[in-house]
Subunit: 189 residues, 2 copies
Amino acid sequence: MLAEFLKKSFDKYFNAPIEAWEEFSELCEPISFEKDEIIKSQNTTEKYFYFIIKGSAGIFLWKENNFVCLDFAFENSACCDYMSLLTKEPTELEVVALEKSEMVKISRENFYELGKKSIGQIIMKISAEDSFIEKQKQQIELLTKSSKERYEILQRKFPDIHQRIAQKHIASYLGITPQSLSRIRNTAN
Amino acid sequence: MLAEFLKKSFDKYFNAPIEAWEEFSELCEPISFEKDEIIKSQNTTEKYFYFIIKGSAGIFLWKENNFVCLDFAFENSACCDYMSLLTKEPTELEVVALEKSEMVKISRENFYELGKKSIGQIIMKISAEDSFIEKQKQQIELLTKSSKERYEILQRKFPDIHQRIAQKHIASYLGITPQSLSRIRNTAN
DNA sequence: GAGAATAATTACCAAATGGTAAAAAATCAA
DNA sequence: TTGATTTTTTACCATTTGGTAATTATTCTC
Protein backbone atom coordinates (compact mmCIF):
# COMPACT_ATOMS: atom_id res chain seq x y z
CA MET A 1 0.00 0.00 0.00
CA LEU A 2 2.55 2.58 1.17
CA ALA A 3 5.19 0.63 -0.72
CA GLU A 4 3.17 0.94 -3.91
CA PHE A 5 2.67 4.65 -3.37
CA LEU A 6 6.39 5.17 -2.86
CA LYS A 7 7.28 3.04 -5.85
CA LYS A 8 4.95 5.07 -8.08
CA SER A 9 6.34 8.34 -6.79
CA PHE A 10 9.95 7.35 -7.39
CA ASP A 11 9.52 5.47 -10.65
CA LYS A 12 10.28 8.61 -12.61
CA TYR A 13 13.74 8.66 -11.03
CA PHE A 14 14.69 4.97 -10.92
CA ASN A 15 13.16 1.56 -10.89
CA ALA A 16 13.25 -0.63 -7.85
CA PRO A 17 11.26 -3.81 -7.24
CA ILE A 18 8.24 -3.59 -4.96
CA GLU A 19 10.03 -5.78 -2.41
CA ALA A 20 12.65 -3.08 -1.93
CA TRP A 21 9.91 -0.53 -1.27
CA GLU A 22 8.25 -2.86 1.21
CA GLU A 23 11.50 -3.06 3.07
CA PHE A 24 11.67 0.75 2.98
CA SER A 25 8.08 1.10 4.19
CA GLU A 26 8.77 -0.97 7.26
CA LEU A 27 11.09 1.74 8.54
CA CYS A 28 8.57 4.52 7.91
CA GLU A 29 6.17 5.92 10.49
CA PRO A 30 2.96 7.67 9.44
CA ILE A 31 2.45 11.15 10.87
CA SER A 32 -0.19 13.86 10.48
CA PHE A 33 0.12 17.62 10.67
CA GLU A 34 -2.42 20.39 10.99
CA LYS A 35 -2.24 23.50 8.81
CA ASP A 36 0.57 25.79 10.05
CA GLU A 37 1.95 23.14 12.36
CA ILE A 38 5.70 23.33 12.74
CA ILE A 39 7.40 20.14 11.57
CA LYS A 40 10.92 21.24 12.42
CA SER A 41 11.70 24.44 14.33
CA GLN A 42 14.50 26.95 13.91
CA ASN A 43 17.87 26.17 15.45
CA THR A 44 17.20 22.46 15.81
CA THR A 45 18.74 19.56 13.95
CA GLU A 46 16.61 17.65 11.48
CA LYS A 47 15.98 14.10 12.64
CA TYR A 48 13.66 12.87 9.90
CA PHE A 49 13.21 12.61 6.20
CA TYR A 50 9.52 13.15 5.38
CA PHE A 51 7.53 12.03 2.40
CA ILE A 52 4.22 13.74 1.70
CA ILE A 53 1.25 11.49 1.02
CA LYS A 54 -1.31 14.31 1.08
CA GLY A 55 -1.00 18.02 1.81
CA SER A 56 1.94 20.38 1.52
CA ALA A 57 4.83 21.90 3.39
CA GLY A 58 7.28 24.77 3.09
CA ILE A 59 10.87 25.36 4.14
CA PHE A 60 11.15 28.80 5.76
CA LEU A 61 13.80 31.18 6.93
CA TRP A 62 13.22 34.16 9.19
CA LYS A 63 14.32 37.46 7.66
CA GLU A 64 13.94 40.67 9.63
CA ASN A 65 10.23 40.55 10.38
CA ASN A 66 9.00 38.07 7.80
CA PHE A 67 9.41 34.47 6.77
CA VAL A 68 10.99 33.69 3.44
CA CYS A 69 10.06 30.44 1.73
CA LEU A 70 12.90 28.47 0.14
CA ASP A 71 10.81 25.60 -1.15
CA PHE A 72 7.33 24.21 -1.45
CA ALA A 73 6.61 20.49 -1.33
CA PHE A 74 3.37 18.74 -2.29
CA GLU A 75 2.10 15.17 -2.61
CA ASN A 76 4.57 12.53 -3.81
CA SER A 77 7.62 14.45 -2.82
CA ALA A 78 10.10 14.59 -0.02
CA CYS A 79 10.26 17.38 2.51
CA CYS A 80 12.69 18.14 5.30
CA ASP A 81 15.51 20.47 6.29
CA TYR A 82 17.82 18.45 4.10
CA MET A 83 20.85 20.61 4.83
CA SER A 84 20.52 19.89 8.53
CA LEU A 85 19.79 16.22 7.92
CA LEU A 86 23.03 15.92 5.94
CA THR A 87 25.29 17.96 8.19
CA LYS A 88 23.73 16.80 11.49
CA GLU A 89 23.99 20.47 12.53
CA PRO A 90 21.17 22.75 13.62
CA THR A 91 20.08 25.35 11.07
CA GLU A 92 17.83 28.39 11.17
CA LEU A 93 15.44 26.72 8.76
CA GLU A 94 11.91 25.92 9.78
CA VAL A 95 9.71 23.30 8.13
CA VAL A 96 5.98 24.02 8.31
CA ALA A 97 2.89 22.17 7.09
CA LEU A 98 0.97 24.55 4.84
CA GLU A 99 -2.17 22.41 4.75
CA LYS A 100 -3.55 19.58 6.84
CA SER A 101 -1.15 16.86 5.78
CA GLU A 102 -0.48 13.15 5.88
CA MET A 103 3.15 12.13 5.67
CA VAL A 104 5.46 9.29 6.47
CA LYS A 105 8.75 9.90 8.19
CA ILE A 106 11.93 7.90 8.40
CA SER A 107 14.61 8.70 10.96
CA ARG A 108 18.12 9.62 9.87
CA GLU A 109 19.39 6.46 11.56
CA ASN A 110 17.01 4.26 9.59
CA PHE A 111 17.70 6.25 6.45
CA TYR A 112 21.41 5.53 6.81
CA GLU A 113 20.66 1.95 7.84
CA LEU A 114 18.92 1.61 4.49
CA GLY A 115 22.07 2.97 2.88
CA LYS A 116 23.66 -0.36 3.51
CA LYS A 117 21.08 -1.96 1.25
CA SER A 118 20.87 -1.02 -2.38
CA ILE A 119 17.50 0.76 -2.24
CA GLY A 120 18.69 3.16 0.42
CA GLN A 121 21.86 3.96 -1.51
CA ILE A 122 19.85 4.84 -4.56
CA ILE A 123 17.31 6.94 -2.68
CA MET A 124 20.02 8.89 -0.88
CA LYS A 125 21.95 9.44 -4.07
CA ILE A 126 18.86 10.53 -6.02
CA SER A 127 17.73 12.77 -3.15
CA ALA A 128 21.01 14.64 -3.02
CA GLU A 129 21.40 14.89 -6.77
CA ASP A 130 17.84 15.91 -7.46
CA SER A 131 17.90 18.44 -4.63
CA PHE A 132 21.01 20.00 -6.13
CA ILE A 133 19.48 20.19 -9.60
CA GLU A 134 16.30 21.80 -8.28
CA LYS A 135 18.30 24.33 -6.27
CA GLN A 136 20.42 25.22 -9.27
CA LYS A 137 17.26 25.75 -11.32
CA GLN A 138 15.96 28.08 -8.62
CA GLN A 139 19.22 29.99 -8.67
CA ILE A 140 19.05 30.30 -12.47
CA GLU A 141 15.51 31.66 -12.23
CA LEU A 142 16.49 34.20 -9.60
CA LEU A 143 19.47 35.36 -11.67
CA THR A 144 17.95 35.38 -15.14
CA LYS A 145 14.20 35.88 -14.89
CA SER A 146 12.04 38.81 -13.86
CA SER A 147 9.75 38.37 -10.88
CA LYS A 148 6.78 38.15 -13.23
CA GLU A 149 8.45 35.37 -15.21
CA ARG A 150 9.36 33.55 -12.00
CA TYR A 151 5.71 33.72 -10.93
CA GLU A 152 4.57 32.27 -14.25
CA ILE A 153 7.14 29.47 -14.04
CA LEU A 154 5.94 28.61 -10.52
CA GLN A 155 2.33 28.57 -11.65
CA ARG A 156 3.20 26.21 -14.48
CA LYS A 157 5.05 23.94 -12.07
CA PHE A 158 2.24 23.90 -9.48
CA PRO A 159 -0.95 24.96 -11.30
CA ASP A 160 -3.10 24.90 -8.16
CA ILE A 161 -0.57 26.63 -5.91
CA HIS A 162 -2.65 29.78 -5.67
CA GLN A 163 -5.61 27.84 -4.34
CA ARG A 164 -3.49 26.09 -1.74
CA ILE A 165 -0.74 28.42 -0.57
CA ALA A 166 -0.96 31.93 0.89
CA GLN A 167 0.17 34.62 -1.50
CA LYS A 168 2.60 36.05 1.02
CA HIS A 169 4.50 32.73 1.00
CA ILE A 170 4.55 32.65 -2.78
CA ALA A 171 5.83 36.24 -2.83
CA SER A 172 8.64 35.44 -0.39
CA TYR A 173 9.63 32.43 -2.50
CA LEU A 174 9.82 34.69 -5.55
CA GLY A 175 11.99 37.15 -3.63
CA ILE A 176 9.46 39.99 -3.65
CA THR A 177 6.95 41.58 -1.26
CA PRO A 178 3.27 40.57 -1.20
CA GLN A 179 2.44 44.03 -2.57
CA SER A 180 4.67 43.46 -5.59
CA LEU A 181 3.12 40.07 -6.28
CA SER A 182 -0.33 41.60 -6.05
CA ARG A 183 0.69 44.23 -8.60
CA ILE A 184 2.16 41.60 -10.92
CA ARG A 185 -0.99 39.50 -10.73
CA ASN A 186 -3.20 42.46 -11.54
CA THR A 187 -1.18 43.72 -14.44
CA ALA A 188 -2.67 43.06 -17.88
CA ASN A 189 -1.05 40.51 -20.25
CA MET B 1 51.83 13.60 -5.42
CA LEU B 2 48.39 14.18 -6.96
CA ALA B 3 46.99 11.68 -4.48
CA GLU B 4 48.38 13.73 -1.59
CA PHE B 5 46.95 16.93 -3.04
CA LEU B 6 43.53 15.37 -3.39
CA LYS B 7 43.65 13.85 0.06
CA LYS B 8 44.49 17.23 1.60
CA SER B 9 41.72 18.94 -0.33
CA PHE B 10 39.07 16.45 0.72
CA ASP B 11 40.19 15.88 4.31
CA LYS B 12 37.81 18.59 5.50
CA TYR B 13 34.91 16.49 4.20
CA PHE B 14 35.97 12.95 5.04
CA ASN B 15 39.01 10.87 5.71
CA ALA B 16 40.23 8.27 3.27
CA PRO B 17 43.59 6.50 3.29
CA ILE B 18 46.23 7.66 0.84
CA GLU B 19 45.94 4.33 -1.00
CA ALA B 20 42.36 5.14 -1.92
CA TRP B 21 43.47 8.46 -3.35
CA GLU B 22 46.23 6.78 -5.31
CA GLU B 23 43.64 4.54 -6.83
CA PHE B 24 41.58 7.63 -7.63
CA SER B 25 44.56 9.44 -9.14
CA GLU B 26 45.22 6.65 -11.58
CA LEU B 27 41.93 7.41 -13.29
CA CYS B 28 42.65 11.14 -13.52
CA GLU B 29 44.16 12.92 -16.51
CA PRO B 30 45.98 16.22 -16.13
CA ILE B 31 44.74 19.03 -18.37
CA SER B 32 45.62 22.71 -18.81
CA PHE B 33 43.46 25.63 -19.87
CA GLU B 34 44.28 29.14 -21.01
CA LYS B 35 42.41 32.14 -19.62
CA ASP B 36 38.91 32.31 -21.15
CA GLU B 37 39.22 28.87 -22.68
CA ILE B 38 35.91 27.03 -22.84
CA ILE B 39 35.99 23.82 -20.84
CA LYS B 40 32.47 22.74 -21.70
CA SER B 41 30.31 24.55 -24.26
CA GLN B 42 26.59 25.30 -24.24
CA ASN B 43 24.19 22.58 -25.32
CA THR B 44 26.65 19.77 -24.84
CA THR B 45 26.69 17.02 -22.25
CA GLU B 46 29.33 17.11 -19.55
CA LYS B 47 31.75 14.22 -19.87
CA TYR B 48 34.18 15.02 -17.09
CA PHE B 49 34.45 15.91 -13.46
CA TYR B 50 37.31 18.42 -13.05
CA PHE B 51 39.39 19.20 -10.03
CA ILE B 52 41.32 22.48 -9.99
CA ILE B 53 44.98 22.28 -8.99
CA LYS B 54 45.74 25.88 -9.90
CA GLY B 55 43.65 28.64 -11.45
CA SER B 56 39.91 29.17 -11.53
CA ALA B 57 36.78 28.54 -13.50
CA GLY B 58 33.21 29.73 -13.74
CA ILE B 59 29.88 28.15 -14.66
CA PHE B 60 28.02 30.47 -17.02
CA LEU B 61 24.61 30.82 -18.55
CA TRP B 62 23.73 33.04 -21.50
CA LYS B 63 21.02 35.62 -20.72
CA GLU B 64 19.84 37.96 -23.44
CA ASN B 65 23.14 39.57 -24.37
CA ASN B 66 25.30 38.77 -21.36
CA PHE B 67 26.71 35.84 -19.47
CA VAL B 68 25.53 35.18 -15.96
CA CYS B 69 27.87 33.37 -13.58
CA LEU B 70 26.32 30.69 -11.38
CA ASP B 71 29.49 29.67 -9.59
CA PHE B 72 33.15 30.34 -9.20
CA ALA B 73 35.67 27.59 -8.48
CA PHE B 74 39.27 28.00 -7.36
CA GLU B 75 42.15 25.76 -6.28
CA ASN B 76 41.28 22.60 -4.32
CA SER B 77 37.76 22.42 -5.54
CA ALA B 78 35.74 20.61 -8.13
CA CYS B 79 34.35 22.23 -11.23
CA CYS B 80 32.05 20.97 -13.94
CA ASP B 81 28.51 21.23 -15.25
CA TYR B 82 27.41 18.93 -12.50
CA MET B 83 23.77 19.01 -13.51
CA SER B 84 24.64 17.69 -16.95
CA LEU B 85 27.09 15.16 -15.53
CA LEU B 86 24.34 13.75 -13.33
CA THR B 87 21.51 13.76 -15.85
CA LYS B 88 23.64 12.81 -18.88
CA GLU B 89 21.62 15.45 -20.73
CA PRO B 90 22.96 18.53 -22.52
CA THR B 91 22.43 21.84 -20.74
CA GLU B 92 22.83 25.47 -21.71
CA LEU B 93 25.58 25.87 -19.14
CA GLU B 94 29.09 26.75 -20.18
CA VAL B 95 32.20 26.09 -18.10
CA VAL B 96 35.04 28.53 -18.71
CA ALA B 97 38.56 28.86 -17.30
CA LEU B 98 38.85 32.34 -15.80
CA GLU B 99 42.64 32.18 -15.42
CA LYS B 100 45.39 30.03 -16.89
CA SER B 101 44.63 26.81 -15.05
CA GLU B 102 45.93 23.38 -14.22
CA MET B 103 43.33 20.73 -13.54
CA VAL B 104 42.83 17.01 -13.47
CA LYS B 105 39.79 15.45 -15.05
CA ILE B 106 38.07 12.13 -14.57
CA SER B 107 35.53 10.83 -17.05
CA ARG B 108 31.98 10.07 -15.97
CA GLU B 109 32.60 6.43 -16.78
CA ASN B 110 35.63 6.26 -14.51
CA PHE B 111 33.83 8.30 -11.90
CA TYR B 112 31.04 5.74 -11.83
CA GLU B 113 33.56 2.92 -12.03
CA LEU B 114 35.00 4.31 -8.82
CA GLY B 115 31.50 4.23 -7.38
CA LYS B 116 31.85 0.50 -7.10
CA LYS B 117 34.71 1.01 -4.70
CA SER B 118 34.21 2.77 -1.42
CA ILE B 119 36.23 5.93 -2.20
CA GLY B 120 34.14 6.67 -5.25
CA GLN B 121 30.90 6.20 -3.36
CA ILE B 122 31.98 8.68 -0.75
CA ILE B 123 33.22 11.26 -3.25
CA MET B 124 30.03 11.08 -5.25
CA LYS B 125 27.88 11.32 -2.17
CA ILE B 126 29.87 14.25 -0.76
CA SER B 127 29.90 16.00 -4.13
CA ALA B 128 26.14 15.85 -4.49
CA GLU B 129 25.42 16.76 -0.89
CA ASP B 130 27.92 19.57 -0.70
CA SER B 131 26.78 20.96 -4.04
CA PHE B 132 23.22 21.04 -2.76
CA ILE B 133 24.20 22.81 0.46
CA GLU B 134 26.21 25.44 -1.41
CA LYS B 135 23.35 26.04 -3.83
CA GLN B 136 20.87 26.44 -1.00
CA LYS B 137 23.18 28.95 0.66
CA GLN B 138 23.31 30.89 -2.59
CA GLN B 139 19.52 30.85 -2.79
CA ILE B 140 19.27 32.09 0.80
CA GLU B 141 21.63 34.95 0.02
CA LEU B 142 19.69 35.94 -3.07
CA LEU B 143 16.40 35.89 -1.16
CA THR B 144 17.47 37.51 2.09
CA LYS B 145 20.46 39.78 1.49
CA SER B 146 20.90 43.05 -0.35
CA SER B 147 23.28 43.12 -3.28
CA LYS B 148 25.80 45.02 -1.16
CA GLU B 149 25.64 42.33 1.54
CA ARG B 150 26.00 39.59 -1.07
CA TYR B 151 29.11 41.32 -2.40
CA GLU B 152 30.61 41.49 1.09
CA ILE B 153 29.84 37.82 1.72
CA LEU B 154 31.53 36.87 -1.55
CA GLN B 155 34.59 38.95 -0.68
CA ARG B 156 34.85 37.23 2.68
CA LYS B 157 34.55 33.82 1.00
CA PHE B 158 37.15 34.59 -1.68
CA PRO B 159 39.25 37.51 -0.40
CA ASP B 160 41.33 37.79 -3.57
CA ILE B 161 38.45 37.41 -6.00
CA HIS B 162 38.64 41.02 -7.13
CA GLN B 163 42.27 40.57 -8.13
CA ARG B 164 41.49 37.43 -10.09
CA ILE B 165 38.04 37.70 -11.59
CA ALA B 166 36.55 40.38 -13.86
CA GLN B 167 34.06 42.61 -12.10
CA LYS B 168 31.40 41.95 -14.74
CA HIS B 169 31.44 38.26 -13.80
CA ILE B 170 31.19 39.06 -10.11
CA ALA B 171 28.27 41.40 -10.83
CA SER B 172 26.43 38.74 -12.82
CA TYR B 173 26.96 36.24 -9.99
CA LEU B 174 25.44 38.75 -7.57
CA GLY B 175 22.47 39.24 -9.87
CA ILE B 176 23.21 42.88 -10.70
CA THR B 177 24.72 44.90 -13.57
CA PRO B 178 28.41 45.89 -13.63
CA GLN B 179 27.27 49.51 -13.21
CA SER B 180 25.44 48.65 -10.01
CA LEU B 181 28.44 46.79 -8.61
CA SER B 182 30.66 49.73 -9.45
CA ARG B 183 28.29 52.03 -7.55
CA ILE B 184 28.19 49.67 -4.56
CA ARG B 185 31.97 49.49 -4.46
CA ASN B 186 32.31 53.25 -4.57
CA THR B 187 29.75 53.98 -1.91
CA ALA B 188 31.16 55.02 1.46
CA ASN B 189 30.79 52.74 4.55
C1' DG C 1 -23.38 34.38 12.11
C1' DA C 2 -20.78 38.28 14.24
C1' DG C 3 -16.66 40.17 15.51
C1' DA C 4 -11.72 39.77 15.45
C1' DA C 5 -7.69 38.72 13.23
C1' DT C 6 -5.13 38.00 9.20
C1' DA C 7 -4.27 38.56 4.32
C1' DA C 8 -4.64 40.92 -0.07
C1' DT C 9 -5.22 45.03 -2.66
C1' DT C 10 -4.46 49.70 -3.79
C1' DA C 11 -2.17 54.11 -3.61
C1' DC C 12 1.54 56.94 -2.75
C1' DC C 13 6.27 58.15 -2.47
C1' DA C 14 11.16 56.66 -1.62
C1' DA C 15 14.99 53.78 -2.71
C1' DA C 16 17.37 50.58 -5.49
C1' DT C 17 18.50 48.97 -9.75
C1' DG C 18 18.46 48.94 -14.90
C1' DG C 19 19.63 50.91 -19.41
C1' DT C 20 21.95 54.11 -22.39
C1' DA C 21 25.79 56.65 -23.22
C1' DA C 22 30.24 58.67 -22.78
C1' DA C 23 34.69 58.96 -20.58
C1' DA C 24 38.47 56.98 -18.14
C1' DA C 25 41.19 53.07 -17.06
C1' DA C 26 43.06 48.74 -17.87
C1' DT C 27 44.32 45.02 -20.76
C1' DC C 28 45.62 42.87 -25.00
C1' DA C 29 48.04 42.21 -29.30
C1' DA C 30 50.90 43.39 -32.95
C1' DT D 1 55.49 50.72 -27.04
C1' DT D 2 51.44 51.93 -29.29
C1' DG D 3 46.99 51.56 -30.91
C1' DA D 4 42.89 48.75 -30.42
C1' DT D 5 39.85 46.44 -27.54
C1' DT D 6 37.70 45.56 -23.40
C1' DT D 7 36.43 46.80 -18.81
C1' DT D 8 35.20 49.96 -15.32
C1' DT D 9 33.41 54.22 -13.85
C1' DT D 10 30.32 58.00 -13.91
C1' DA D 11 26.15 60.44 -15.10
C1' DC D 12 21.53 60.71 -16.38
C1' DC D 13 16.87 59.21 -16.46
C1' DA D 14 13.44 55.30 -16.61
C1' DT D 15 11.69 51.27 -14.42
C1' DT D 16 11.09 48.20 -10.83
C1' DT D 17 10.56 47.22 -6.31
C1' DG D 18 10.18 48.46 -1.35
C1' DG D 19 7.86 50.59 2.60
C1' DT D 20 4.01 52.80 4.85
C1' DA D 21 -0.61 53.16 5.31
C1' DA D 22 -5.44 52.77 4.50
C1' DT D 23 -9.11 49.89 2.55
C1' DT D 24 -11.21 45.77 1.27
C1' DA D 25 -11.53 40.84 1.38
C1' DT D 26 -10.96 36.62 3.53
C1' DT D 27 -10.39 33.50 7.20
C1' DC D 28 -10.68 32.18 11.88
C1' DT D 29 -12.89 31.78 16.34
C1' DC D 30 -16.31 31.77 19.48
